[in-house]
């Protein structure tokens, strides 16, 4: 069994009017079955309201399934007694860094998680150092988080989660509020954790460019998994993604446009290098 497994996961919201009467039921996640292997880098795409965040919140048991089952590292998230362990296994980073940072000094903030787990003091400091180095924020350990840029704060949030030594980190639109450099740094940090520390990453994003290095992409629509595959498989279906209110990386879009105009390029070009190579082949 993989690190994250869901079987026929359904989650329903009950909408109520002002008097508390039931107005209707919205199915946010609809019969999702998936299996993520330890060490994978997974990207989740989908338009607003497609169910991505609701799905993500099941992975560290913030939400409990209406129907079906979610297992994290083999443990059923619906069982109260598993909560503590599940939240240690799967850490979560949210969109707004300002809502997640509590410490007055960067290193204190990062130490907060392991401290709550009852980790011995000496080991806390080791973990803080190691986590801040992994996200490239060690030089700022004595700084006040308030003075950091959005990208730096977000990396501190990731270090805070990492210091709890989770096997899996879920990032829910971690770059939505960041400038281009901040975005790059956060994605680089997530990839490094995956490559070097072998931590399983689930990245939810609206920026298509951030997903091209993922092992697999899940595309959600109306609470279901509408597409699944490697970045190349998913992004070669430009028209289908547009129907799902999504996009493809600009390079892929340019290659697609050139194909439409008659250039014979391979499908699913993802990087500038690939496009340059493909065009070179054509010109000889």
């Amino acid at each position: 069994m993989g690190i994250i497994k869901t079987k026929n996961l359904v989650y329903e919201y009950i909408r109520r009017d002002e008097e508390g009467n039931v107005e209707g039921i919205t199915t946010a996640v609809d019969k999702v079955s998936l299996n993520v292997k330890a060490g994978e880098f997974i990207a989740v795409l989908g338009h607003n309201g497609s169910g991505k965040s609701t799905l993500a919140k099941h992975i560290n048991a913030i939400l409990s399934p209406t129907e079906g089952t979610v297992w994290v590292d083999g443990k059923d998230t619906a069982k109260e007694e598993n909560l503590w362990e599940i939240r240690q296994t799967a850490g979560m980073v949210f969109q707004n860094p300002d809502n997640q940072i509590i410490g007055q000094v960067v290193e204190e903030d990062v130490g907060f998680g392991p401290e709550n787990l009852g980790v011995p003091t000496k080991e806390i400091w080791e973990r803080v150092e190691e986590s801040l180095k992994a996200v490239g924020m060690y030089a700022y350990r004595k700084h006040s988080p308030n003075k950091l840029s959005g990208g730096q704060k977000q990396r501190v949030s990731i270090a805070g989660v990492m210091a709890m030594h989770p096997k899996c980190i879920i990032l829910d639109e971690p770059t939505a509020m960041l400038d281009p450099n901040g975005r790059k740094d956060v994605i680089r940090a997530a990839r490094a954790l995956n490559d070097v520390e072998k931590i399983t990453i689930v990245l939810i994003t609206h920026y298509m460019e951030e997903t091209i290095y993922a092992d697999r992409i899940f595309v959600m629509d109306q609470g279901r998994i509408a597409m699944e595959g490697t970045p190349r498989e998913v992004f070669s279906q430009v028209e289908r993604l547009k129907e799902l209110r999504l996009d493809v990386p600009q390079v892929t879009l340019l290659a697609h446009e050139l194909q439409k105009r008659g250039l014979r390029l391979p499908k699913g070009i993802l990087t500038t290098e690939e496009l340059v190579e493909a065009l070179k082949c054509l010109s000889y």
Binding site: N48, S149, A176, P180, N181, G182, H206, R245, Q250, V251
Partner: protein, 281 residues
């Protein structure tokens, strides 16, 4: 008519040890009807600059002229200015508060002291302009999707009939389709009504696609102020200040380095495709 900023400086916490020089000697002229993109890394001063445009923040020194009048004159009506220069903040949906969307959009014009009929006409018109579906007019704003909330919030500012619309990251957190829809509608509004639009954005691709002119802010100063083609030609300098060029710029430069005879100043997919096709003929 235009907005003119003349040697504007702004210092946070002046006369305290924590003083921060947030805007440094800004001189800008924004003529009527322009679609201007404002870019800069987090903390570069772009939002502070925008808050000066409608008098929300007062410059420490320097002058701002709106249609030829100094907005810091003692008898200048700042309240009227705020009706003319509409500011849509980041995550504007956090400011929705009424029981239904229509009342929320009515709130602004109602406060301008207009009669009920005019208020409702304006609200209706503004919601239509942002492409808000009529069947949702009387829904609670809190039950809408992200994109619809954003539309409702922008309509609330449009209902004041501003001459200048300032949008601080209007598409952050929206899915790609929602992003394109909102920007297309703003572009259309700008073309139809001749309204001036200032768009603050972290997405270089969006800025390249929509605006006539880009102002690049860095550490409180204007670093570049030119057309998208000219500004993105400085992509290396932009990277040094925490920004980037649209991906297309990188592709074109890579092609040129590899011996393709292409113009590297293009910034949109369509232009790039034209340029590559030309190189292949």
């Amino acid at each position: 008519m235009s907005i003119i900023l003349d040697h504007v400086n702004y210092i946070y916490g002046e006369d305290t040890p924590q003083a921060v020089h947030a805007l440094k000697d800004i001189c800008l002229q924004i003529p009527d009807g322009q679609f201007v993109g404002v870019i800069g890394h987090t903390g570069s001063g772009k939002s502070t600059l925008m808050q000066h445009m409608n008098g929300l923040v007062r410059a420490t020194s320097g002058h701002i002229y709106y249609n030829g009048q100094d907005i810091y004159d003692a008898d200048y009506d700042l309240k009227a200015l705020r009706g003319k220069v509409g500011l849509v903040f980041q995550y504007p949906e956090h400011q929705l508060f009424e029981v239904d969307v229509f009342s929320d959009v009515c709130y602004g014009p109602k406060n301008l002291g207009l009669d009920k009929k005019e208020v409702e006409l304006r609200a209706f018109d503004a919601l239509r302009k942002v492409g808000f579906p009529q069947e949702l007019f009387y829904q609670s704003p809190f039950e809408l999707s992200g994109g619809q909330k954003r539309r409702a919030a922008i309509a609330g500012v449009l209902a004041m009939k501003p001459e200048v619309l300032i949008l601080d990251e209007p598409t952050a957190g929206l899915d790609p389709k929602g992003r394109d829809e909102i920007l297309d509608q703003i572009k259309e509004l700008q073309t139809q009504t001749g309204m001036t639009v200032l768009l603050v954005s972290h997405s270089m691709e969006d800025v390249a696609e929509y605006v006539d002119r880009i102002i690049v802010m860095n550490q409180g100063s204007v670093l570049f102020d030119d057309t998208p083609h000219q500004v993105f030609a400085h992509y290396k300098e932009l990277e040094e200040v925490g920004l980037a060029a649209p991906q297309v710029t990188y592709i074109m430069n890579a092609l040129k380095e590899n011996g393709f005879c292409v113009d590297t100043s293009v910034t949109t997919i369509k232009e790039a495709a034209d340029e590559i096709m030309r190189a292949f003929q």
